[in-house]
């Protein structure tokens, strides 16, 4: 499979949306470390980032934020 057939699959590959057969075909080619696919996947990852950023921020109250942060740092200490 040549790279030109893969370009339209990159974003869906990174999003995990391809059916296994297509995902395997992309994965096999990617493992050849094709430079063209590498750049295409990098560009696709930016599109995926954009799609993930389309929701508005969800803010908590200052107290809830503070609790969440404290909980995160407490879990670090237990590691």
């Amino acid at each position: 499979m040549g790279c030109q057939h893969l370009e339209e699959l990159y974003e869906l590959y990174l999003l995990g949306a391809l059916d296994p057969e297509d995902a395997d075909r992309v994965g096999e080619h990617v493992r050849t470390q094709c430079p063209s696919c590498y750049e295409g996947l990098r560009e696709a990852a930016l599109a995926v980032y954009l799609l993930c950023q389309t929701t508005p921020p969800a803010r908590s109250s200052a107290r809830a934020d503070s609790q969440q942060r404290a909980d995160l740092l407490r879990r670090l200490r237990s590691k």
């Binding site: 391809l18 930016l46 980032y49 954009l50 950023q53 590691k79």
Partner: protein
Amino acid sequence: MSDAALAEDLLVRIRKRDREALGELYDRCAPRLRGMTLRILSERDSADRAVREAFLHLWEAAAPISPRAGRNGAPAVSSRSALSDARLDGPPGASAAAWLTLQARTMALARLRAVRTGGAVPGLEPSGQFVSWLPRTEEVEIVDRRRDLLQKILNQLSRPQRELLEKVVFEGCRETELAEKQGEPVAKVKSDLRAAMRFLRHRLRAVMGTWGANI
């Protein structure tokens, strides 16, 4: 300073095991990450947990490698962090903010799948799928700065195309699964999704300055 640039600065301190730096990164980035995980999980507590897991994973991934033994029992060859080691396969300056975003999505979708199947919520699993291809910090900054324009581009998609993309991004649906849900032929769903991605890719190139187009 942009979130993406701040994330890079804080990552330097996080690699040195500065917990407060992780807290600062959380303060700055959590609301937007929570917006995404809440969209995926529709439940505040689970959404918060998914965000927290992404930050914990960042902490783990940025841990310095032991000077005595590398990962998988191999001798360590440097004191680079796991994250920067992973970036050896990726572009210089790959974005930590993008890494966090994609990790949070992965964590939230794993929780969503566990809820749907009645299975256990998975533990802290590394997800290296994106690491090699992470966008650069400066690219993420452009996307963040031009969010309004990019939203306009997304709004130019047809409603069915937008709905398909949302199900892929926020519900983790595969193409065949989508076809079943929509009651449409698989070929049509694949064609619609790929056309939407093609449109988005070309417009994104225009925004990034790598392709000319009127938006």
